[in-house]
């Protein structure tokens, strides 16, 4: 058969596609479970961190998750019972500077104090807005008192972290007032959801 004949070209292309795509499909299928459990672990561990539960290994995280946390019925968040107190966390996505920001925000059932926040996804400028994923920033939210509108992320702060949990404000990231504003909007929207879910029935 000539190499440039139509039948050879069609047969060759068909066989080549099959030869390269079938192994890929197999590899994809073989790792599917692992990828799915990675995805679940990312969500579960973020929920645990937002609730303020520490864990060592991924296995420990999953067992703590299983014993303490349950999913909210609509899949929008999590409910947890920690030391006899009920907490709710919601997953919330809002606009960011370059793309959307997705966070897990946890508070007590009535939405009086934040329990903690965790960033699931963000595409903010690395080194500026991207610093919202740093521990000092997230730690400020732990136990922060919430006002009627939630809390304020204050751009006039020192930019090193606000230690007072009773003033309803945390420090913004220096040089990232816009990103800090977006985070504030997401947190406060999440607080509203938490109050709607867990507030007086």
């Amino acid at each position: 058969m000539k190499k440039d004949s139509v039948s050879y070209v069609v047969a060759f292309t068909f066989l080549a596609c099959a030869a390269f795509i079938v192994p890929l499909a197999i590899a994809n299928e073989a790792t599917k479970k692992r990828v799915e459990s990675n995805r679940l672990f990312a969500a579960h561990s973020a929920a645990l961190r937002a609730f303020g539960v520490s864990y060592g290994s991924p296995a420990e995280a999953e067992s703590k998750y299983a014993s303490l946390v349950s999913d909210l019925p609509d899949g929008k968040g999590f409910r947890a019972q920690i030391d006899g107190k009920a907490y709710i966390a919601v997953k919330k996505t809002g606009g960011g500077l370059w793309g959307s920001i997705t966070m897990v925000v946890a508070a007590d059932e009535k939405g009086e104090r934040l329990q903690g926040i965790e960033i699931l996804d963000q595409m903010e400028t690395p080194g500026l807005g991207g610093r919202i994923d740093e521990d000092w920033f997230k730690k400020q939210f732990r136990g922060e008192k919430l006002g009627p509108e939630g809390l304020t992320i204050d751009t006039a702060g020192s930019g090193t972290g606000d230690g007072d949990p009773d003033n309803g404000r945390v420090d913004a990231v220096t040089g990232a007032s816009l990103t800090s504003g977006f985070v504030q909007a997401i947190v406060n929207a999440a607080v509203k959801d938490i109050r709607a879910t867990g507030g007086p029935k």
Binding site: F12, T13, A27, N38, R39, G127
Partner: protein
């Protein structure tokens, strides 16, 4: 003429460096070089895909009909790129998430197609494999140099370890894409002027050795 392995490696790393001389794969230098760790993974991915892609394409070049040559090249190269993507997603989810779409975009890195066309199409598989490795590393050395500068000046860290003290004010511009343009341009400038000077020296030496021939 069959090129020797040493020449292939020297070509990829310096004489025919993909960034300095072929000016290929510039796009990815913008995306990942603000962080050394991501850069290393990118280099590994590009080197792997170029080497194995060239190897495979060179192996099947006798069977390849001309009409579908490019389609098959893309098919083979993307096969290896997707393989990298699948492995990262399953075994290094954090890195996979950070690199995001850039792993899949390795296929659009011109070095892959460039080497498949320029080298693998006319050379045996093993030489093509070495050529792929050499070009991946030639690309990698430049990328790494840029990443070191950008991460250090932009964050004050290297591979995530803090090197600069609290006095250090990070250069935000180093984290953003434009700084990669400046640095690539400066690196190109440096390598070109070095090569031009070496060429001038070589000519001068030739003229000295045979003065009457040079005079004519």
């Amino acid at each position: 003429m069959k090129p020797s392995n040493a020449k292939i490696i020297k070509d990829g790393l310096w004489t025919n460096n993909p960034i300095f001389v072929q000016v290929l794969g510039i796009c990815s230098t913008l995306a990942v070089t603000n962080n050394v760790r991501n850069t290393l993974i990118m280099i590994a991915g590009v080197t792997f895909a170029t080497a194995f892609g060239s190897f495979t394409l060179s192996g099947i070049k006798g069977l390849l009909p001309r009409k579908v040559r490019m389609i098959i090249q893309v098919l083979v190269l993307s096969f290896y790129v997707i393989l990298v993507d699948i492995v990262l997603r399953a075994y290094a989810p954090a890195i996979s998430k950070q690199l995001g779409p850039y792993v899949g975009l390795i296929i659009t890195n011109c070095i892959l197609m460039g080497r498949a066309e320029a080298f693998a199409a006319a050379n045996p598989p093993w030489a093509s494999f070495i050529d792929g490795i050499a070009n991946g590393l030639g690309y990698g050395v430049v990328l790494l140099a840029i990443a070191v500068v950008r991460e250090f000046l932009g964050f004050g860290t290297l591979l995530g370890f803090r090197l600069a003290g609290d006095w250090f004010t990070p250069w935000t511009i180093m984290i953003m894409a434009p700084s990669a343009f400046f640095l690539v341009a400066m690196a190109l400038w440096g390598s070109n002027s070095y090569n031009a000077r070496a060429e001038a020296r070589r000519k001068a030496a030739v003229a000295k050795a045979a003065p009457d021939r040079a005079a004519k």
